[in-house]
């Protein structure tokens, strides 16, 4: 990292607050939305470095958490464009069709189930996975998700709906298969 823009005490306090309040959400979002192929911690560090570079704009932002999430998302997208083109495009869901009538919630109890659920999230189409993680890891409202992704609210909602259906299918089918 370069030396970058100088920070005064007030700006430093703002960044500390954001690191504490938004940092975990940011890491959760990047780690889950962009998968294991990306160094999530590097992205978070770079995000906060850029935040420091643009501290005036960040401080003036009405929603500093959205500012940071947008920055992180842009960094990830730039990386994917440069090194892994096409990864952010829609993919075919890898979920298997549900083959029994059991309720997935019945099965998500153990640690192994949690790991399987996370694996199922990772297997979601990127667009659905991003909405899920923005909602549940970054804890944004759907209006905010729509704004951040520059998509209509209805699209954000339908992606969430489709993601939930895919996840249930995946968990149900894995249980049968396992």
């Amino acid at each position: 990292m370069t030396k970058g823009k100088a920070l005064n005490d007030e700006q430093r306090r703002l960044l500390e607050t954001l690191l504490h309040d938004v940092g975990p959400r940011l890491l959760g979002y990047v780690r889950r939305a962009f998968g294991a192929g990306i160094e999530a911690e590097e992205i978070v560090a770079e995000t906060f470095s850029r935040a420091a570079d643009n501290i005036e704009a960040l401080a003036a932002s009405g929603r500093q958490d959205l500012y940071l999430l947008t920055t992180a998302r842009n960094i990830c997208r730039d990386l994917f464009r440069k090194h892994r083109p096409g990864l952010l495009t829609e993919q075919q869901s890898r979920s298997q069709p549900d083959r029994d009538g059991t309720t997935p919630a019945d099965r998500i109890e153990s640690r192994e189930d949690r790991a399987r659920l996370l694996a199922a999230v990772d297997a979601l189409p990127p667009a659905q996975r991003e909405v899920v993680t923005l909602r549940l890891s970054a804890e944004l409202k759907f209006e905010e998700i729509a704004d951040l992704l520059s998509i209509p609210l209805g699209t954000a909602l339908s992606r969430m709906d489709a993601a939930m259906k895919n996840l249930k299918k995946a968990m149900g089918s894995e249980n049968v298969a396992g």
């Binding site: 690191l19 959400r25 998500i108 999230v121 409202k141 709906d161």
Partner: protein, 166 residues
């Protein structure tokens, strides 16, 4: 389906599934190593305090002023440091340098420096006066230091006629 449907924990008939998903995706605290790295980046950007900036600037100004005094072309040097004659410009520069030093809370130190210099002057006068005699004092006769003879130990002649000849 409206946003409100999704915001509610039981938006789905299978609300427990959503809860499980929420638990699985709940953010965890940042690793200490990561927060340390981020803070180290911020530390490198810290704006120096006002005192430090003043000190750095004022020391540079003081050094420049002293250098100008030493190199000033109008200076007249005698055989000893004590016989240096200062012009009005020299004096103004010294006062300015002293003011800069005082400005950054180094008054005590700068005064100490001046004390040392005065002792050097006293010592030089005493030694030179004893060794070189009247030839020296003839040239330096109008130095105001003679008024302090009793305090500094500098023995100045009462008048020119009383001075020994060399």
């Amino acid at each position: 389906m409206s946003p409100a449907d999704f915001e509610k924990p039981n938006w789905d008939t299978d609300g427990e599934f959503l809860h499980s998903l929420q638990d699985a995706l709940r953010p965890e605290p940042l690793p200490d190593e990561l927060t340390d790295r981020i803070r180290a980046d911020w530390d490198r950007r810290a704006v120096p305090g006002r005192v430090i900036r003043l000190r750095s600037w004022s020391w540079a100004a003081a050094a420049a002023a002293c250098l100008m005094v030493l190199l000033w072309p109008s200076r007249q040097f005698d055989s000893s440091f004590a016989a240096v004659e200062l012009t009005a410009d020299d004096a103004a520069l010294i006062v300015a340098a002293y003011g800069v030093l005082s400005w950054e809370d180094t008054v005590d130190y700068s005064i100490a420096m001046i004390d040392v210099s005065m002792n050097d002057i006293d010592q030089t006068l005493r030694v030179d006066g004893g060794v070189s005699g009247a030839a020296y004092f003839d040239d330096a006769w109008d130095l105001p230091i003679s008024d302090n003879a009793g305090e500094t130990g500098v023995r100045m002649p009462a008048d020119a006629a009383a001075m020994p000849t060399v």
